[in-house]
């Protein structure tokens, strides 16, 4: 199987936990399928005008997901998906 890399902007349901003053994504539901997040690899922020967006680079056993959180309206988006080949 070939690796697949997609840039998306899909709304996604995210289950999170809060610990040590941090938001930690635990699982996501996308395209009617649940994915359990194994590791949060990197968290970074980026500005969109005055807005500060949070990006979570997370992965399960086969996929890398980049999730975007808009803290103003708590909207989660799946913006990038990489499936290992």
């Amino acid at each position: 199987m070939m690796a697949m890399h997609e840039l998306l902007n899909d709304p996604v349901d995210v289950e999170v936990s809060f610990s040590n003053n941090r938001v930690v994504p635990r699982s996501i539901r996308w395209n009617q399928k649940d994915y359990k997040i194994e590791t949060v690899n990197l968290v970074h922020t980026a500005r969109e005008g005055h807005k500060k967006m949070f990006y979570f680079s997370v992965s399960d056993l086969n996929n890398y997901f980049k999730l975007k959180l808009d803290p103003e309206n708590l909207d989660w988006r799946l913006v990038e998906l990489y499936t290992d080949g």
């Binding site: 690796a3 690899n41 990197l42 970074h44 005008g49 990006y55 890398y64």
Partner: protein, 449 residues
Amino acid sequence: MERIILHIDFNSYFASVEQQANPFLRGKPIGITGKSQERSVVATASIEAKALGVKTAMSTWEAKKVCPTIILWPGDPEKYSDITSRFNRILSEFTPNVSQFSVDESFLDITDEAEDYFGATCLAQALRERLREEFGDHITASIGIAPNKLMAKLACESVKPNGLTVVRKDDLIDFIDTRELDDLCGIGHRIKHRLNALGVETFKQLREFPINDLVDEFKSYGTWLHAAAHGHDSSAVVSSTQKGIRTMHSTGVKSYGHSYTLPQNTHDLLVIKRYLLGLADKVAWRMRRDKTLARRVSVFVRFGDFTGHGEQRTFNEPTANGLKLFQIAWRILSPHLSPHSHPQPTGRARDTDIGTTLSRPTSDRSQSSYQGLGSPPNDLVRLVGLSTSLLSSGPEQPPLFKKDRKMISVFSSLDKLQHRYGPGVWQRASTMPIEFKSRSSGFNYDHEV
């Protein structure tokens, strides 16, 4: 007191960040590219790709040729910029004397904090651990510690990746003599070739070469070369606050400029005009943001064969109006892009430039002949750029005509929008067909300037 300088440099920075973010890229040869992978270069190769012969700034097609298994990955400048900011914040936890050298390397004067080389080594280990906590295991850095910046950087670069190299004052000469001339920051290929032509192949030979002869050949640079070969460098670690830098809104800037490599090399004047107008608007927005006006515009193009043409024009009334800057720039540039009409397949051209193609005037290259679409690919325009200089501060002189005054008030509203929602919130209708994609480079990030 002998200074202790620490130089820290992330290893394969952009690639390591991507490998940290995406575990499926780890252990693989990856190359971080720009906006379009076909016309891009490898901004950073992963450690694995470097081991297979991929070099920084190699074109993507060449990288594919050298390493067919390379994964070309589009760069994410905003992510790297965030990591850079956090990196610099961490460095300032260790000492206030931090001088950023590029997006992924900095100098720290740790003389007071470390007290001696043992303390410096402990500090370096603590710094490395702090970076690991913040970013993870896969973003690593090499560290060099020495009595000055030049030697600290040379030490840092001697062991990669993830090295920690300490060179004390007494060991400087022995250490330098293990390095090649062009390992030293300040000796590039050209200087090296000129030194080789003088019979200087090693640092030992450079030390022994008469300083007067070096000065004859390199002017004042000869003195620097002589000192460098002895491991001397008195330059201070000057932090951005000491320099008086007020980040991006600095009034110390001398020019504003943007350039852009087009998605395809082109003859099409309309496409070139659109990009030039877009660049002029980018430059003008930054000037208005910084309350600055310009009295000079420079414009340049690069052709497919990497030759180019540039010119500038000075004018009396300072401006920060993108359209005015574009109009002046186009007046300068267009005579050097002689148009050739070619048949339009359908429709009727409304703009006089629609349906025309260009090429360089034959005076630029006597061997070539230019026939519109039939021109050789090397004569197509590859890159356009525009910059402004002769800057002054203050508001623009109110225009005479009502229409122009209205335009200034429109800009004021558009600028507020852009400030709030970021670049891309407005665009001229005439530039709608084009798109500027963000880029990453070793020294700055597009979205920050």
